[in-house]
Amino acid sequence: MEVSFTVNGKPTQVEIDPAETLLSTLRDRLRLTGTKEGCSEGECGACTVLVDGRPVDSCIYATGAAAGRAVETVEGMARDELGRALQEAFVAAGGVQCGFCTPGFVTTLVSVLRENEHPSEDELRTALAGNICRCTGYSQILDAVAATVAGRAAR
């Protein structure tokens, strides 16, 4: 079957299997390999992308369900002002070690910070409960968010 949606703003049509996951479509058909496959069961958040601005685990999201919607991946975050600021803050704060979880964290955080410019640390920790990082211990990631929030406030 054929599905049409936008990916990072670009109108996209793609031929898919009916039960295909958005993760598989993005990586294997559209060659957008920034989105990572971790657990494949909606537990780890490595594959997080935004669908109409909402963070979803693309490993358990049907591509067919994205028809007519706007999909944003980490590749798009590089062209998004907030996304770019977050990525730079991750690097500066040491929030990236092996880097496998980073695309999922960045996309999740973009959705969180678009909705709430000044989340409390508690709100942030809750919002990130679906993203697992096995390197940083999360502190550097929270530091990166704090720096991003402060940077936006300073502008």
Binding site: M1, D17, P18, A19, T21, S40, E41, G42, E43, G45, T48, V51, R54, P55, V56, D57, C59, I60, Y61, A62, G64, A65, A67, T108, S111, V112, T126, A127, L128, A129, G130, N131
Partner: protein, 290 residues
């Protein structure tokens, strides 16, 4: 045989497909359970009926009873869509997976999936939830207790779609809560989930509801425990009697997340804490800490 994905944009269209091929259909909303079951080979439907765009299943109406569209997401509930009288449901929805699951996972999906550990079910049970079902042959409304009948088993007929979850309006001086035991508060299947709703007249409990998840094949209420609290002032003896009643009603098993023995051991603490929080939220005993 190749699976087929059918996306429908209206309730009529959904009911037509179900009338025609209901037995071959798996309804797909946010997909957070269905897509995993597909990947594991646990289900192999001929048709995936994608209902996420059906407008009639969205939103909440509070004209008398509170009617929650089956597509309302956990995220919307967790953010307090229903207001302070249904805090148990907001708390339960806020512990279903992480933000990614809550963003697209739906209340109707959690009900129809009928997991023994479903977080929202105890919270719905303490609010006398009923589910509204529609099919080409007609509509019916059934108590949630009679709808979820076993592990992953409901009385939904193949041609029916769950359209709404209907909650009774709680009386004045009522407090409710959902508490979950898990290794983490979110992103964790409950080891035990407990919802409670208490109504007071002065210090006296006049109505009590207690429901638990992950302690048997399906979430259940404990009428004997409720009876033990009604007429009490939550004195230790009443709590103990209620705990004993719950422990008689449940049938926990050993699994990856916890042993049956552990599940029994956490019940007393959970029940006592829940009672204190309900009392506080009902405006009683402000000395209790949440």
């Amino acid at each position: 045989m190749e699976m087929e994905l059918r996306t429908v944009d209206s309730l009529d269209a959904a009911l037509d497909v179900l009338a025609d091929r209901g037995a071959d259909c798996q309804v797909l909303a946010g997909g957070t359970d269905v897509m995993i079951q597909l990947a594991r080979g646990e289900i192999a439907p001929a048709v995936l009926l994608h209902v996420e765009n059906v407008p009639e299943l969205q939103g909440v109406s509070a004209n008398g009873a509170t009617r929650i569209g089956s597509l309302v997401t956990h995220r919307a509930l967790a953010k307090g869509l229903l207001g302070p009288r249904y805090r148990a449901l907001a708390e339960a929805a806020g512990t279903v997976g992480g933000l990614q699951t809550q963003s697209v996972g739906t209340l109707g999906g959690n009900v129809c999936n009928a997991s023994p550990a479903a977080d929202t079910l105890p919270a719905l049970l303490v609010h006398d939830a009923q589910v509204a079902l529609r099919g080409r042959a007609g509509s019916r409304t059934v108590p949630l207790e009679e709808f979820v009948v076993g592990r992953r088993a409901t009385t939904r007929r193949p041609d029916e779609l769950l359209t709404e979850i209907v909650l009774a309006t709680p009386p004045e001086c009522t407090g409710d809560v959902y508490l979950k035991v898990g290794r983490r508060s979110a992103m964790e299947v409950a080891i035990v989930g407990l919802a409670m709703r208490l109504t007071f007249d002065g210090d006296d409990v006049t109505d009590a509801r207690i429901a638990l998840a992950a302690v048997g094949p399906r979430p259940l209420r404990s009428p004997a425990a409720e009876a033990a609290l009604i007429g009490s002032r939550l004195e230790p003896r009443a709590i103990e009697t209620a705990v004993d009643a719950v422990l008689r009603d449940i049938s926990p098993i050993d699994d990856l997340r916890g042993s049956a023995d552990y599940r029994r051991r956490v019940v007393p603490g959970l029940l006592e804490r829940a009672a204190g929080i309900c009392a506080q939220r009902a405006g009683r005993t402000p000395e209790h800490e949440e």
